[in-house]
């Protein structure tokens, strides 16, 4: 795990790594991240050449293509003080796995290491680097939080989202004993071994329902889409959102997988 700086940097130049799932499925998480980062004093930019962190190839054993994608990401984010992603899984990929992809190329490896040292997951960046203690937002709800595996185990994201959520007016956080249990998503796993994946998801949604929460939050779109899809198939009345939307006070869009009536008007 990285050691955060002693003092919050002043007006840092931050590149937002949008992540492919936020880009394609839930742009509102991207805009929520923009709002949170700008209000915390960042000069925010969104480099154009970004696509995906490469995990689908990496987890399928395609190291060569992964390295090519990694090189593209590292180049796209050249020159930023920080690279921030609204995903523990993608940030973990950029930070923990990129350097090892260039084991045979000392120059590129050094670049990847320097890059990795600037990468942060969104809530951890806000709390650990920008030293944000609380935020201003309101959402009356009984929420439970899912700790996504990579964020939790690779980056140590656990207390940061909770610290910020504590500042949301009206929000009650109910901890699930299964908060740290995998939701069964696993990238391509969820389709390749769909039955196993759905069974794991079923144990997870059971635990979520047992908390009595009406809102499920997490910091990773993959897990969120998986849990939302399972909860909705089961007919459970639980709204599912990325934590950034709640922290940014941008909850006018319907929850993940919920009906929308032909536009972005509120529910």
């Amino acid at each position: 795990m990285l050691t955060p700086p002693q003092e919050a940097p002043h007006n840092p130049r931050v590149g937002l790594f949008v992540t492919c799932l936020v880009d394609l499925f839930r742009p509102s998480v991207g805009f929520a991240s923009v709002k949170l980062l700008e209000e915390a004093g960042c000069r925010l930019e969104v480099p154009d050449a970004q696509v995906c962190c490469g995990q689908p190839a990496y987890n399928s054993g395609d190291r060569k293509d992964t390295a090519a994608i990694a090189r593209q990401v590292i180049e796209a984010f050249d020159g930023y003080d920080y690279v921030v992603a609204p995903s523990g899984s993608c940030a973990g990929m950029l930070r923990d796995h990129y350097p090892a992809l260039f084991a045979g190329d000392p120059e590129m490896k050094a670049r990847a290491e320097a890059f990795a040292a600037r990468v942060w997951e969104l809530t951890s960046f806000l709390v650990d680097v920008l030293k944000l203690e609380t935020i201003q937002a309101t959402l009356p709800a009984k929420a439970t939080y899912h700790d996504s595996c990579s964020g939790l185990r690779e980056l140590g994201v656990k207390r940061q989202p909770r610290q910020l959520l504590a500042g949301v007016n009206g929000l009650e956080l109910i901890e699930s004993p299964a908060a740290e249990t995998c939701c069964g998503f696993g990238g391509t796993f969820c389709v390749k071994y769909g039955e196993v994946s759905a069974d794991i998801a079923g144990r997870k949604t059971q635990a979520i329902k047992e908390t009595g929460a009406d809102l499920l939050l997490a910091g990773d779109m993959g897990c969120l889409m998986n849990m939302a899809g399972k909860l909705q198939r089961e007919g459970a009345a639980v709204t599912v959102r990325h934590v950034a939307e709640v922290l940014a006070g941008m909850t006018d869009q319907p929850g993940i997988g919920e009906p929308n009536w032909g536009g972005s008007e509120p529910r």
Binding site: A57, D62, F189
Partner: protein, 480 residues
Amino acid sequence: MSAHITSPAFKDNAKAALADPNLRKAMAIIAGPMAGRRVESASELPEFEALRDEAVKIKNHTLAHMDIYLERFEAAATARGAHVHWCRTPREARETVLALCRSRNARTVTKGKSMVTEEIGLNAFLEQHSIQPVETDLGEYIIQLAHEPPSHIIGPALHKTREQVAELFEEHHPDYAPNGIKPGPRSTEPQTLVSEARAVLRERYFQADVGITGANFLVAENGATMIVTNEGNGDLTQSLPKMHIVVTSIEKVIPTLEDVSTILRVLARSATGQEMSVYTTVSCGPKRPDDADGPEEMHIVLLDNGRSEMLGGELQELMRCIRCGACMNNCPVYQSVGGHAYGWVYPGPIGAALDPHLIGLEAAQHLPNASTFCGKCQEVCPMRIPLPKIMRHWREQAHDKRITPPMQRWGIEAWAWLAQRPALYRLATRIGMTALRAVAGSKGRLRSLPLADGWTAQRDFPAPQPGGSFMAQWKSGRRR
């Protein structure tokens, strides 16, 4: 190979497991209480993390000087009157055990729990040669009656409910009559079932000509072999018959007893959540002239089976494994499908990392793929083995050697090709997302998706938000 392999059918095995109500009942206990006990017992011991580090250090040191410690072990064991047999392959190990049994004209052998005997398929082999192996560990005994392989490395019959055990006993112990009274329908009380197994097995101990056990540790400094059990069956197995054969593998060697005591402290906590296993048995050679009891002969069959090739490579860290089972108890996939789905001796994360080496990647290719990479196994592994990293190594091997199914490989390569061409990627994904949105309509989600029924069979699929991708909206000037 040795034990029967069904790993290539992992998907079918998993499907069958998911549909088996008894298995689901049994697995709930592993996911709940068993995994929970480890957490409790680890948190009771403030120095648990430091102990893990210490245990890792001991094993790393031993692995770096494996040859020296193995030779030292052999010399010390020989000096105490035991015989050490080096076996490269499962076949050599089986033949060695058979020859030893024949030298005693053995008809019946009792067996303590040993995963290495499973690895070499010893029971079936002995039966083929008219020698009856009798498992004395309760779990092993149960699955022997059921003609099944173990489903867990420390709890071989964890997949059986007590109702199923009672049925098996009913069928296999027709003459069982404690105090001369035949029981009616078998009680499903665990204690009653245990007493019944004890009573039946007691007679078998005295009939056995040879006792076979495994070993958790081989102590280099004094040539002792050690087993840890909770039933004490190992003690009777090894001390009553005239010959004791230890069947184990080379990576069990540890320099000193002191080192063993460190590892024991993390082993039991990780395995069952106990502070210590109930029995820790140290065997130092055969009976000496003034000993009251013990076997006349002691043999140690040391299996390599590809282990020495693991030294110095990607897989070396697997040699630290102490077979505690924590990785499987805590694995979401194992908790869903149980041990048999993995199709060979070592299931769960350790199996996913180890089996491709032992039975070949072609046969075992599903195992390292059937993981969400959640990292829980590595978190709980007392020996800090980077299991996901090793599973990824196998995925890379499968990709490079073109063992991965072609459709899957092409799919990923096509996606990766696109991901390296942002403009084209945005065009292609725009078409895809527009289609998804159109099909979902105002419902916001899809109930079925061609090519992704793995997802949609049991889950809805959330549709993309209206308004286009983030990148497109950002470029058109939207900021909030």
